[in-house]
Subunit: 341 residues, 2 copies
């Protein structure tokens, strides 16, 4: 059978070339009905995308982008090492972009990635990100992407995350077990899914234990500059009957809790027990050593990158599109939550 | 006067267009004599590069690259923030590339940067980098670049560094003042200029104090994997009459010294005093708090980027070509070097 080109196909189904092209690339802009019409006609009349042009379009840059909020957090440093471990084998370049927790910057970066510069994108979203328009843009350009650690919830794409709800639950249980009667959870954002899941798990354990306290007392949002957050934590510690246990939802909050305790002459673990979501290398040599929920950061980066390459290399990119991989974190008990009897 | 184009100019001086183009771009591939011939003829016959094409060539990407060995070191995280603070004002994208201390990767990255992808490059070299061929390549492509922190010595370009010799000297003096009689300096590379300068300063202070010890005893090279370095440090600590003071030339060595001391039941500062070149945020809350030589990491990144933009924006890129800016570090004394009387 003689093969037809995209122009001829468009004419046959009475649609624009651009619509047909989008339908074939499985763009979300095109309705399922139109996609079916186009794909049926393509099969019937023998249309196949030019494999050379298609390969050029798909694989020309040998570069992937990593978009993440910051590198000062040890989690991201380790995840980057995991990402590099895969990209190096594939002989790919890795471009790291930082959003500095700003959604506007994140949008700009994604626009920058849409110009054929990269073959795929790994994203951990900023704490400001509240809508998915820019992720739709990536999908629309048919650039494979994977969320790692910080996903945008209810968005259909591949994601590699950890068991945040369960770990939030564990963190509260651990504090209660070690003798706390009024533990609180410190979050950095009311919109960031990972923080919310951790907070929900925390709340579930508190409720289960029959501790009756309004939500505003147990989940505390620490936002603003580092200095503002530091002042906020000091204020919490100066309150009468302040919390006797704190969960730091991200690494940098743990540092600030420790520093605030030094300044306020509050003893860890005697006056306050502390547990942090953190992969901090110095956790065992802090004063006192810090109990952590340690994420498999390297493996999260590595797995996300392996999945991204499966998508980049697949002829049919929809194959692995909506996988969700959950790699469990684990609680490492140290002296900051030592039971004092 | 009628203007001539580059083809006509090449014919007039009897050289290839490519040679004339390189001469005008001040490439190091072209001899000074040829450059003079070309520039004189260009002036005489009224050749001027097309300003529009030239501006396109120079500024089309609105992107700068940062090449550095790792992000797990807090110095680089802070320097990146300094770099971003300038790039954001200029509305430029920042691409971060990691060499993972491998010179081959560093070379690949520079080749990747040479394709019009970026308008300028900031580099902190890997600990393996022993020749400057790839930096010549950048110069040759007329891409402005600036060394920050880890420079390649004796290479003519702009650099922003700190006072490494002086700080090495200070670190030894400090240990001697606090009662050490046999301090050693831990380096990560025999070829990395910043480590060597720090080691030279250290040796100068030791010699000045009249301490007689062969070089191999006071300067120790910790190379290999993290595990190998950890074992090497433990062996040092298990020696009879082991050192009573250690300078960590980079941040990660400080962590390893602390961990090795915990495992070997060696007390800091009683049995061993420790000082580290480090911007570690957790230095004040370590057990014991860590004395540091703290580099102005943010300002080094910021200043390097400001200089890079001066070069990118200058019509004559040679204007700021060979500036060396030295931003001083400072010693912050904490409990890891406490005098025990």
């Amino acid at each position: 059978m003689k093969k037809i080109n995209i122009k001829e196909l468009a004419k046959l189904v009475n649609l624009s070339i651009s619509t047909v092209s989008k339908a074939i690339r499985d763009s979300h802009e095109i309705s399922e009905q139109t996609k079916n019409t186009v794909l049926e006609a393509a099969e019937k009349f023998g249309y196949a995308p030019n494999p050379y042009a298609s390969s050029l379009r798909k694989k020309k840059s040998k570069t992937i982008a990593v978009i993440l909020p910051e590198v000062a957090d040890n989690f991201f440093s380790l995840a980057i090492n995991g990402i590099h471990s895969v990209a190096e084998l594939k002989n790919y370049h890795v471009l790291i972009y930082l959003s500095h927790e700003k959604v506007e910057l994140e949008k700009n970066i994604i626009a920058h990635c849409c110009s054929g510069r990269v073959d795929g994108v790994l994203i951990s979203i900023s704490d400001e990100t509240a809508n998915a328009d820019h992720f739709h843009k990536l999908q629309n350009e048919n650039i494979p992407f994977v969320f790692f650690d910080r996903e945008f919830e209810n968005f259909n794409t591949t994601k590699v995350i950890t068991n945040d709800f369960e770990c939030g639950y564990l963190s509260a249980k651990h504090l209660l077990d070690r003798g706390c009667s009024h533990p609180v959870f410190l979050s950095i954002s009311p919109s960031l899914p990972i923080c919310n899941k951790r907070a929900e798990g925390f709340t579930a354990a508190i409720t289960e234990a029959g501790i009756d306290t309004g939500k505003q007392d147990t989940i505390i949002y620490c936002t603003g500059s580092q200095e503002e957050i530091f002042d906020q934590i000091k204020k919490l510690l100066h309150k009468k009957n302040h919390a006797d246990g704190m969960v730091a939802s991200v690494e940098r909050l743990a540092m600030q809790i420790y520093m605030a305790c030094v300044e306020s002459a509050i003893r860890i673990p005697e006056d306050l027990k502390v547990i942090a979501f953190s992969t901090l290398e110095t956790a065992p040599i802090l004063n006192p050593s810090l109990t952590t929920i340690t994420q498999p950061a390297f493996d999260i980066g590595k797995t996300a990158t392996e999945l991204l390459f499966t998508m980049i290399e697949a002829s049919n990119k929809t194959a692995v599109k909506n996988a969700t991989v959950v790699l469990p974190s684990r609680l490492i008990e140290r002296n900051s939550t030592l039971r004092i009897d």
